[in-house]
Amino acid sequence: MKMRLSLAIASLAILGVHGFVFYQQFFHKWETYQNSYFDQARTLAKTDQEREALASRSPKIEQIIVTQFGSTRVDRCTTCHIGIDDPRFKENNQPYKAHPYTAELGDREINGKWERRHKFADIGCTVCHDGQGRGLQEFYAHGEDEFWTEPMLGYVVQENWRPEFKDKLKGKEFMQANCAQCHTDKDFKSTPLVNKGREVFVQQNCYGCHRIEGISNGTLGPDLSDVGKKWSLNYIHESIVDPRANSATSFMPKFNMTDEEVKALTIFLKSRRGFNYAETQLDRYRATLTKSPATSPESTEPGATTPAVADAKLGEQLVQQRACAACHKIGETDGGIAPDLSYEGLIKDSEWIVAHFKDPRALIPDSIMPTFTFSDGDFRSMAAYLGTLNKPPALNNPQEIYTNLCMRCHGDKGDGHGMIAIYLDPYPRDFTNAGFMNSKPEDRLISSIKNGVGGTSMPAWGKVLNDEQIKGVLGYINQNFTKEARTEIKPRKIPDQNPVAMSPDSVARGEGIYLQRCTGCHGRKADGKGANSLDILPRPRNLLNTAFVTQTNDRRLFESIMYGVQGTAMPPWIDYGLTTEDVGDLVNYIRSLNQGKKDAGLMTLLIRGH
């Protein structure tokens, strides 16, 4: 009996839940809105016919199905906003309020009657306003749901957005991002912020690292071609002003932009959605047939005149405008990503600098510097400006020298983990690695400081420091970081010249040995990125680094292969059965990889270059 009683109670509870769910399902807010609209419209109606038509209407889900903008959109907004196209309701409160007519949007008044340029029946609502067209509850329809990336532009600020951004993301102008979906002309006058954002994208050099289809080809940062489709305004805004907020590993610099510029850039990026609404697959295909995939941004740059002669003044302006110091250090400003340019005029000549501007990786193969596409004149002017940075620093003692010139890469502990070290490849030398430091003769270490290391970011400090200073700083390094007394280096039997003559046979033999012995670390392509390379510090040498290989003499290559490199993972290969002839073949193979790839002009730069 007890069981039957509880059964009855449980059944009643089930009935109760059903009542609750039925109530939820069948008593919608939008029905109330629609009924209220019908009532109000009836009082406003002028003819009996109108009244009758209204009387026969009953609440139902209204929807506009838009098929002409990319994927099919279903907009049910008019279910609540049922008076949207009814001019009599222009003074009412939401959700009854009629959409205003604006001449700016192309609406025209003909004989006292307004006609819309953008007809709701054709384009729906979310095309301009965003939001979730399918939703019928305000929370979801307006996109207040934290998972909806397209909340109503400029109106809804989501609860979970960063509070300090909420105000900045309010405002009708955010809708310009959607106008630009169809109005793609670069100077469409009704989307000033999109146009400005596009300029900012170029001015601030965003294009150097980011790709946007049809605009730029950068590869260093994420492709932004459809960033507007994937991310909410909030996320885009946040990623611009605080790059590490969303991706802890991001090394994008914080750019110094005004709020207005950030807003324009955010709106411009929000307008990048891969496909524009107005565009079809066929349009896109046709576009690829008629023009190169990415237009050079210089053509979009306002007032880009090419001066006939290099102008250091203009160069200074350009370097500042283009935010070089967002990565590099120039004088007091330090971007914390790329090498110090404060003494560039002493270290490099303008020919090298211009060649490096045009193709950084031709000179420093593993550099992450973007390839900017400025005009030749701009490059020359910038190089001319950098050439004026030729005042040697007043540095009195080795410690000062180390702190000012070496520490940014090699670190304050001399362990190679300097501020910008992770952006450099090869990685800066670790001075605390006594095995390495003490296995190399002093001459060699001094030469590395004085002449730099080809194909890397180590410059020839001999042009800034005198021999005495260099000796001093080496002593400082030895005393503070290596901390081990130098020992006499045993004389080894190493040929000064490669005894094996360069020949196709020798290269082929060398390749055979290379494939057997070296690919694990140096990689099949000899680019230093073999399977084991990530487990090894210092990383295996990139043997395709022509500047480095060309400057390294046979003796040093032989020594490194035959006797290994102490303090690194490179083993002494004579212990593993390689003969001097084998090593000769290997050296020939490595040299052959770096021959004839580059034109003569570049080769001289490479050799002279550091």
Binding site: L7, S11, Q132, R134, Y140, K230
Partner: protein, 437 residues
């Protein structure tokens, strides 16, 4: 003429009764004979024995966990079929269909909630059912193979839930399945192939969605139904649910005034195959169950008629299950995150909760956590009844004789639950340990 008219009249007037009796074959029962006939002649009730042991009906012995699993499965079938009317397994449409379910389909949210929470509930209920069977030692001879089928049913439940997880095609689904199938990929030799077979591609995409859909709505449910049928059939053939030996001792009170024989003697008689014939119970029922009860039931025993005792108990569990699912579904919405963004994994990307124990182990060792240990666990689970063959302590919760086995199993259960809890609540970005408090 009048006779004919009369005939038509009488035919019509007796028609409801005729239809009733042709469908149900007998009237609502008021006698024991009627009760047994009702169970026996009705297709749906026929799955029950005519009589059921009193011990089986003890609520705290089974806690109705097997039934709860079955009823959740039935709820899942019904809600699932309804959801199928709205769902399209296409990467272009699936997510929009979810929005429609939430936005404009009548009862859409509610259906999805019921389906989602029942699925989670079923994983839990089946697991608890397995624990119940173990702790009461119910997998022992002759029920060993039914235990094996049960373990397979548990794995199928997990797989059904897992395949359904992908279908909403939101970030949660996409990345959970990406993580889940990556775990499968850690298996040696066949791992990658298995993963490819499952996904139809190297990554989760349209092919994977279609495969998961077909598995989820057609293949796995059919296999499940067949195995459930075998599972139930074997329960009957194995003599109903397990029970301790002493439960078969007939107490005089249970038999009532009919029996004067002392209980021990009665039990002996039962074991001997029923010598004592009770005059009042002179109807015959064909072979009900094996064992001491597999006979034409004309001995006094501890059984009661399934109709209404068992039916009422089942109804009770059913009502409670439905009520639970309805309440949870009315107040908690099934999650729906943003549409799939292949380039942006959430951090951390987590598998469905029941696989978070695995993922937690994978974070220590990909092979051992994802493949080695789970494979050993499943293998041991499958073989448990063949290792543990003692016949002591059957049908009793935490029997003293089974201290070792129960301790081992309890350790297994606790370790897995703790791992799942750690994986669910204590793991944040980059799978680092965070405190949820």
């Amino acid at each position: 003429m009048s006779e004919k008219k009369n005939n038509i009249f009488s035919t019509l007037s007796s028609m409801p009764a005729a239809i009733w009796s042709s469908v149900f074959r007998n009237n609502l029962p008021y006698t024991d004979l009627g009760r047994s006939k009702t169970s026996f002649n009705n297709f749906f009730l026929h799955i029950h024995p005519v009589k059921v042991h009193r011990h089986t009906l003890k609520p705290w012995f089974t806690m109705g966990l097997g039934l709860i699993s079955l009823f959740l499965f039935l709820i899942l079938v019904v809600t699932g079929v309804l959801l199928m009317f709205y769902y399209v397994p296409s990467t272009a449409q699936a997510y929009d269909r979810m929005l429609d379910l939430r936005g404009s389909v009548a009862f859409g949210v509610f259906l999805r909630n019921m389906h989602r929470w029942s699925a989670h509930g079923m994983v839990a209920a089946v697991f608890l059912h397995m624990c119940r069977v173990f702790f009461t030692g119910s997998y022992k001879k002759p029920r060993e193979f039914n235990w094996v089928i049960g373990v397979i049913l548990f794995l199928l439940t997990l797989f059904l839930s897992f395949t359904g997880y992908l279908l909403p095609w939101d970030q949660l689904a996409f990345w959970a399945i990406t993580v889940g199938t990556a775990i499968a990929g850690y298996a040696p030799v066949v791992g990658e192939q298995m993963r490819f077979l499952l996904l139809g591609d190297t990554t989760v995409g349209q092919e994977a969605l279609l495969r998961f859909y077909v598995l989820h709505v057609a293949v796995l449910p059919v296999v499940m139904v067949v195995l459930i049928a075998i599972h139930f059939w074997r329960i009957r053939k194995d003599g109903g649910l397990s029970r301790p030996e002493e439960a078969d001792i007939v107490e005089p009170a249970a038999v009532g005034t009919v029996l004067a024989t002392p209980a021990p003697a009665m039990a002996m008689a039962t074991a001997a195959g029923g010598i004592n014939v009770i005059e009042k119970k002179n109807y015959g029922i064909q072979g009900l169950v094996r064992g001491p009860f597999a006979k034409v039931g004309n001995v006094p025993d501890n059984s009661v008629f399934s109709y209404p005792n068992l039916l009422l108990a089942e109804l009770f569990v059913f009502i409670l299950t439905v009520l639970g699912v309805l309440l949870v579904s009315a107040f908690f919405n099934a999650p729906l995150e943003e549409a799939v963004n292949v380039l942006h994994p959430p951090n951390p990307a987590k598998a469905p909760w029941y696989f978070l124990g695995l993922q937690e182990m994978v974070s220590y060792s990909a092979f051992w956590g994802g493949v080695g240990i789970p494979a050993i666990e499943v293998l041991v689970l499958l073989l448990v009844p063949y290792f543990d063959r003692g016949q002591k302590g059957v049908g009793k919760w935490f029997a003293k004789e089974r201290l070792l086995a129960n301790t081992l199993f309890l350790t297994f259960v606790v370790v897995n639950i703790v791992l799942i809890i750690i994986g669910t609540f204590f793991r944040g970005q980059n799978w680092e340990f965070v405190s949820p408090f």
